[in-house]
């Protein structure tokens, strides 16, 4: 199986110094940024669009298409979403720590293409080391004349500010990130009317892209749209980084082409299940995604469309594998607890509903479940995400609310019996210790 490497090539080839400016330049770095400044906005946007580079932050939306929506008002801003907080996801951290200049180069091109003279890299607060690495690279780029006034000797100015978050997953949601950058609470804005490309940071047109998306940009231009599309799958172009964790033998980040089957990913790439155990279930695309089970999904290919057809999403590329020893009620509870804890509290269903779900699941796991509880759980979930499907018909402002319901959908679809067993058996059949009552 060939595994083309794009964004991790340098760190694989040069494990000790891929992050340095010297190594970066020695391997052709900043060439594309330099060359892109001779291209027009339209040329770049068109190339990225036809390469069909999909956003890697979760929504898998075409980056070029997003850029083409940039409203004419100026100044415009670019924001790199490095808030990576979706449980199971740790790919951006590697890109930030190991190859920060690649990100900066992508950011220069993205800013030029979107006529922005000020860009922000919003890094989650719990990532001080990646932030230090990125800041160091930014400083180097300034010193080299690649950032600041008149970069590469042109008359294009680009300021880059590295911003550290304060510990809030919701700030990964792009409009919450914009509020946070404005010095406000990280509450998502209403869409409409606040689509960032029209009214973003300081109500000006703003492009928000994930770290990995931006890192791909120089490669898209360097290869050209056709070659980029040729890497792997014709629709899900290019490669993507999978963060594999949980009960696999070889957890870690893997840069893969789309189209592999889940069997290949879990058993070949990740080395199979630990201790030779049976695979029970896995989360295909980050904590927000409904889970897959071997009986239905193991031979399905990992593509955006196939995953969506199966009622889930490729999301942030985080695959969390659970083996037969896993109590799925507890797993679901931990995920729901995460969303309850991270709810910004702006809208009623998410603020009140998610903690309520957490309380009920805690009781069930601790053996105080009542026969009606599972129905109540489903109905309370239904109020957050009407019809309990994916993609959700959400009653909330942002997708965090319905994400909290994904684990419930998974329990309903695949593990109803296990829930009932908890309730009827007066506790967890796996004999685990009591689950702490946390609630936000």
């Amino acid at each position: 199986m060939s595994r083309p490497l794009v964004v991790t090539r340098r760190m694989v080839d040069h494990p000790t110094d891929s992050h340095t400016l010297d190594r970066y330049q020695e391997t052709g770095g900043y060439e594309m940024a330099r060359r892109s400044l001779d291209m027009t906005r339209d040329e770049i946007v068109e190339t990225v669009k036809s390469a069909n580079l999909l956003g890697r932050g979760g929504a898998a939306f075409s980056a070029g298409l997003k850029w083409s929506f940039l409203a004419p008002d100026r100044p415009a801003y670019v924001v790199v979403n490095a808030d990576e907080s979706e449980p199971g996801t740790f790919k951006d951290r590697q890109l930030l720590e190991r190859d920060p200049h690649q990100l900066i180069e992508g950011l220069i091109i993205t800013s030029w293409a979107n006529e922005a003279n000020h860009a922000f890299i919003y890094i989650r607060g719990e990532y001080p080391k990646p932030a230090r690495r990125v800041q160091q690279a930014v400083d180097e780029a300034y010193a080299a004349g690649y950032l600041g006034e008149g970069i590469f000797g042109t008359d294009f100015d680009l300021e880059v500010t590295v911003h550290l978050g304060g510990g809030a997953y919701i700030c990964g949601e792009e409009t919450a990130m914009i509020n946070s950058l404005e010095g406000l609470r990280g509450e998502p804005r209403l869409k409409p009317p606040y689509f960032p490309a029209a009214k973003g940071l300081y109500m000006k047109p703003t492009i928000v892209n994930n770290v990995e998306t931006i890192c791909n940009v120089p490669h898209v231009l360097a290869m050209g749209a056709e070659d980029f599309k040729g890497i792997a799958h014709p629709e899900d172009t290019g490669t993507f980084l999978l963060s594999l964790s949980g009960h696999v033998n070889e957890p870690g980040n893997y840069e893969l082409p789309h189209g592999l089957t889940w069997r290949e990913i879990i058993y070949d790439v990740a080395g199979g299940i630990r201790d030779g155990n049976e695979l029970k279930t896995w989360i295909p695309g980050g904590a927000s995604a409904p889970w897959f089970v071997p009986s239905l999904h193991l031979d399905m290919p990992l593509t955006k469309q196939a995953t969506a057809d199966a009622g889930s999403m490729i999301g942030s590329g985080a695959v969390v594998v659970m083996d037969e020893t896993t109590c799925v009620v507890r797993a679901a509870l931990r995920l729901v607890r995460f969303f309850a804890h991270e709810s910004c509290g702006e809208c009623t269903p998410c603020r009140e509903g998610a903690p309520w779900l957490e309380m009920m699941l805690t009781r069930i796991e601790n053996g105080q479940g009542r026969p009606v509880d599972f129905d109540v759980i489903l109905d309370v979930s239904d109020g957050i995400s009407i019809g309990l499907e994916w993609p959700p018909k959400m009653t909330t402002i942002c997708a965090l609310g319905p994400s909290a319901v994904s684990p419930i959908i998974s329990l309903r679809d695949h593990f109803g019996d296990e829930v009932v067993a908890h309730i009827e058996g007066g506790g967890c059949p796996f004999g685990r210790v009591e689950e702490e009552e946390v609630v936000a």
């Binding site: 000790t16 550290l164 978050g165 304060g166 300081y202 957890p251 870690g252 980040n253 985080a318």
Partner: protein, 223 residues
Amino acid sequence: MGSEPITLTIRPAESGKKWSDESLERARRIMARYPEKRSAVMPLLYLAMAEDGRLTNGGMEQVAELVGITPAQVLAVASFYTMYKRERTGKYLISACTSISCMLTGGDDVFEAIELESGVPHGETDEEGLISVEHVECIGACGGAPAVQVNYELIEGVTPVKARELVRWLQQERPATINTDEMQRHFGGRRSFDWAVAEEASAVGPYPAFQPFGTVGGVGEGE
């Protein structure tokens, strides 16, 4: 019950003490990095923590004054995020991940070991003000789960035994700064991915070590 008059008076700023000139200068430089100064609230809050060891009312008032908003608006922002600690916080903040991937690989046991060894339950600080303990949601180290941070510096592949050693080390050695490589070497195991080079910078308090905030200690300091 009833309606006796209530009189609230505006209280003078908590300490009356202002930041050092050096911090004010740093604050000015941070604000200059943003098109609008209100955007600097979050970095300034870290600066405030570095000044006082935690986020005090006086610190929030200072931030409010610097960016030109009300202290209530600063509190609204500060209290939204988990990393601005308004309660007394230890010199070492141990954060153990108990989110999904860490939970699947024993993170709960690691957290419990930390609580037991330190005697400090979730969200609290020991009497001496040395160690604070918390369990946290995913910290992006799932490939090296279970993971723990001390002052946001990461250790991956931690076991309950190693976690207890970590606590004892902090209690006995009381390192002046916290370095991620050093901790990983002593208390860690499998990592999410290999780290390329030695990490020079070290953290000094319960806030992220990031040079523009002036919150990096030990080597690596300097503009």
